[in-house]
Amino acid sequence: MEKLQLPPIDYRALAPMLILFGVACVGVLLEALLPRRARHTVQLSLALLACVAAFIMVIRERGTRTITIGTAVAVDGPTLFLQGAILVLGVVSLLLIGERTVEPGGAFVAEAALTVGSQKDLRQTTGAAGGTEVYPLVLFALGGMLMFVSANDLLTMFVALEVFSLPLYLLCALARRRRLLSQEAALKYFLLGSYASAFFLFGVALLYGYANGVHFNQIHAAIANPARSQVLLYGGLALLAIGLLFKAALAPFHVWTPDVYQGAPTPVTALMAACTKVAAFGALLRVLYVGFEGVRWDFQPILGTIAVLTMLVGAVLAVTQTDIKRLLAYSSIANAGYLLVGVLALNEAGVSSTLFYLVAYGFSVLAAFAIVTLVRDADGEATHLSRWAGLGRRSPLFAGVFTFILLAFAGIPLTSGFTSKFAVFGAAVEGGQTWLVIFGVITSMLIAFPYLRVVVMMWLSEPGDSTPAVSIPGFLTSAALTIGVIATLALGVLPAPLLDLSDKAADFVR
């Protein structure tokens, strides 16, 4: 019998993932061992430390370009950049998740399964300390995302997809307020996510049949050979794409986004909007640029149509929203469309501009949701837009910050939103995709309107009796908000360092 040969493993290159998964497991143990009082502080510090440690490893490995653990994981420029981005944005999201002073007990409940409205549930909704298992869950999710962007074969990618999706499904159900909405969101996300995973897996099966393997290299080699079955190739790619487009919230696979964004606890929404987007587009980049580069001219028009559709859906439906979280959800759909424009440039500038966009957007969206957690009244967050009327009079500082973030979403210069839009549009024109840029410009005009409507609400309307006050943010939320706003400003005024970094990181290994 042949002796089983283990592949050599480059542990240093894998260290960021290993740290996160390891600490997540420790966190699960601590849940059982620590007294309840100590858990929150210990778990939060541990999670933050794990992210920082993983980030330091990413920086130390910045020159690494390798494929390791067989051919399962590729560590190259985009991987390291995306992992760094996920970790930094993850730290900021953790700050929001750890906040407990704005809402007594935090934004999460300890036990999501209690019947809504029962005595026990009411008790835990009003004031009882929330559960701390969110921290290991978040670490598992972040670890899965790191793996997702570095996966070099479709099976690893599928495993990573599940590893980061399942904790997110759970996190969605843990909102302290509006429990039914939260549970509905979790169920919806779980069901649709499972369908998407099933499509993905089916696609992997077809592609295995096509290429006799699931490594991107094998697929790349198989595409070069015209004798193979085109039906399997295109069928497989299409099904695979459905799974990825779902995670990236691209039309027509975006329908879960507004409901889930609205129902999930706002810090989790922030995590999904910032980190999941990075992971999803990171994987999309690798699949399209490394695995399927040979058929780029075949998928380009189809994905281009999807990009146009996504931008239109996001921009047009954002106009009709009356809930700030849903508005931000549609805005994130539109932004996914712009990101896809960058991806479809299909050149090196396309990769680097997409990387830049992901980071810039992540910081802005985190700041936006941080503000949403602060605008509240006795019933929790006041997310209905009419309640924001006159906020500028009540709390000029926060209304000013939110206005700035909205201007960034609208792509006004001197904000990161403009720089990133310029980068992806520039790359797309360079890649000969002028038509995508034209649609991008048109939808930018459309989506400016809903943003402006919120600004008008906040500044130009008189405050009503129902206008809530803005809570004084705790230290953690202040920190998250400050980081988000400073990054949005800095990447708008002086984007050169990050642009350089993303330029240098735009090399895939095959």
Binding site: P413, V437, V441, V456
Partner: protein, 514 residues
């Protein structure tokens, strides 16, 4: 690095920004301090711009005071500032108007619940973006300022404006943003096709190699943005709303300076970058300009709201400016640039005087006045002067520019010039009719009951109008200092377009293109 001893332009650009931050930090409870700081700061900016005017070498290099610092090397976008004669006069215009407007707005915020420090900080922030737009010599930097200038004006209109301010502010923002995004598409296209640089000189060279069809599209992208900003017919509908809703001082800046960004952009970017496309588009632009002259003047005649009326008159005047630019003669071009300056002074003055009337009456409706001259003889006299300047009576500055535009256009396109002349007659109609209905005739009894209507021009208001009246008279009789500065820049621009003047011209000191 700079090639003049002192970094004039960067200091001039950043000074109002610093001032805006300083004023914004003054606590709400001290409105008086905020006003004084804002006024002193804007006077310092004016002093600096006068020093720059003195340092400008007439007949020297086309772009002077050039400064260039690295900004985003990945895209080759640089923080480059430089001024040619056209930019210089616009910079001086804004530097003159801002202190005047600050003084004129002295009591505007007092009755409202709004914070004076915010209002005056926004005025200075607006000055910052305006100076940036005129001083930028890097296409990316220009675009950045072009978009950012919307924000202070949006908040000025939206937070401090009149009854329909929300509607007007949003309309203003969306119109301008739409134009800006057309330009963004064109800027990106130009950047990719022009060899990935934003340097104006290099782009001008590279743009010559872009194929005709693409260049025309890029030209249109720029042109639409500028036409909306200017505003040219049929992109003008935001201006009466914005001008009608904005506080009077801000409206004077909006129409007096901000609109000129449109015509300035056409002169600085559309013509040199896309000469062929400019010539191709010129007939259409001329038609639009002439329609604008007649159509806006007709609408102005029918207006009952004083601020809207003045806004419409300025749309008509922009028709003249546009016609002068697209006639492609040095004479008409010089006339257009001179008109940009004079229109800023004349319409600015008219807006401010009308504002003084409105403040006293508490209404902007023409029908609410009547015989006001009996109560306010001096103010009515100044309004009459402002009206005459606006309709370009000989002896006032706009006459010189309108005359230059018309004869400059007549030499190449006599038909357009003749039709445009009808605009002058209409101008007389709307100005004189407005003055007659407000200040002449029988005294409206409602006016006599208002105590404010018995208070003729105050010392502060005299200080506000005096510099503008003096400048209008001075430039009306002796425009040479301004034309000397403008003329070489316009000649250079016209050479970029590749047109030669039909006959030697004797403008100003008679420097004729070879």
């Amino acid at each position: 690095m700079t090639d003049s001893g002192f970094p004039f332009l960067s200091v001039l650009t950043l000074a109002p920004l610093v001032g805006a931050v300083v004023v914004a930090c003054i606590p709400r409870s001290k409105p008086k301090l905020a006003k004084i700081v804002a006024l002193v700061w804007s006077l310092a900016v004016l002093g600096l711009s006068i020093a720059m005017w003195v340092a400008f070498q007439v007949g020297g290099a086309r772009f002077q005071f050039r400064e260039s610092y690295p900004w985003i090397p990945t895209w080759d976008a640089r923080f480059t500032l430089a001024a040619d004669g056209i930019a210089l006069v616009m910079l001086l215009l804004i530097a003159v108007l801002v202190p005047v407007v600050i003084l004129a707005s002295w009591h505007d915020v007092d009755e409202t619940q709004r914070s004076a420090s915010t209002y005056f900080a926004l005025l200075l922030a607006f000055e910052f973006t305006m100076i940036g737009v005129f001083a930028a010599a890097d296409v990316f930097l220009f675009y950045v300022f072009f978009e950012v200038m919307l924000i202070p004006m949006y908040f000025i209109i939206g937070s401090f404006g009149g009854a329909r301010r929300q509607y007007a502010a949003v309309k203003f923002f969306l119109y301008s943003l739409v134009g800006g995004l057309f330009m963004l598409a064109a800027v990106i296209g130009l950047w990719v096709l022009g060899g990935k640089t934003f340097d104006f000189a290099e782009l001008t060279r590279a743009a010559a190699d872009i194929d005709t069809n693409t260049a025309r599209w890029l030209f249109l992208g720029f042109f639409i943005a500028f036409a909306i900003k200017a505003p040219f017919f049929p992109f003008h509908t935001w201006l009466p709303d914005a001008g009608g809703a904005a506080p009077v001082g801000a409206a004077a800046l909006l129409v007096g300076v901000m609109d000129k960004v449109g015509t300035f952009g056409i002169l600085r970017y559309c013509l040199p970058l896309f000469p062929e496309a400019s010539r191709w588009f010129a007939p259409a632009a001329l038609v639009l300009a002439v329609i604008g002259i007649i159509y806006a003047a007709l609408l102005a005649v029918g207006q009952n709201d004083l601020k809207r009326l003045v806004s419409y008159t300025s749309i008509a005047h922009f028709g003249f400016i546009g016609m002068g630019i697209f006639a492609f003669t040095t004479q008409a071009g010089t006339g257009s640039v001179l008109y940009m300056v004079n229109h800023g002074l004349a319409t600015g003055l008219l807006f401010l005087v009308v504002g003084m009337f409105i403040a006293r009456r508490g209404s902007a409706q023409v029908s609410d006045f009547g015989g006001a001259g009996k109560l306010l003889p001096v103010l009515a006299g100044i309004m009459f002067f402002a009206g005459l300047a606006s309709l370009a009576l000989p002896g006032t500055a706009p006459f010189v520019s309108e005359f230059l535009v018309l004869i400059g256009t007549f030499t190449v396109h006599p038909a357009y010039a003749v039709i445009a002349t009808a605009g002058i007659i209409l101008a007389a109609a709307y100005v004189l009719w407005m003055i007659q209905r407000t200040t002449q005739g029988d005294l409206n009894p409602a006016l006599a009951e208002l105590p404010e209507m018995r208070r003729d021009i105050t010392l502060r208001e005299k200080v506000v109008v005096a510099p503008l009246v003096l400048l209008l008279l001075l430039l009306g009789f002796y425009p040479k200092p301004v034309t000397d500065v403008i003329n070489p820049a316009v000649q250079a621009t016209m050479q970029d377009v590749g047109t030669t003047d039909p006959a030697p011209t004797a403008v100003a000191n008679g420097k004729v293109a070879p």
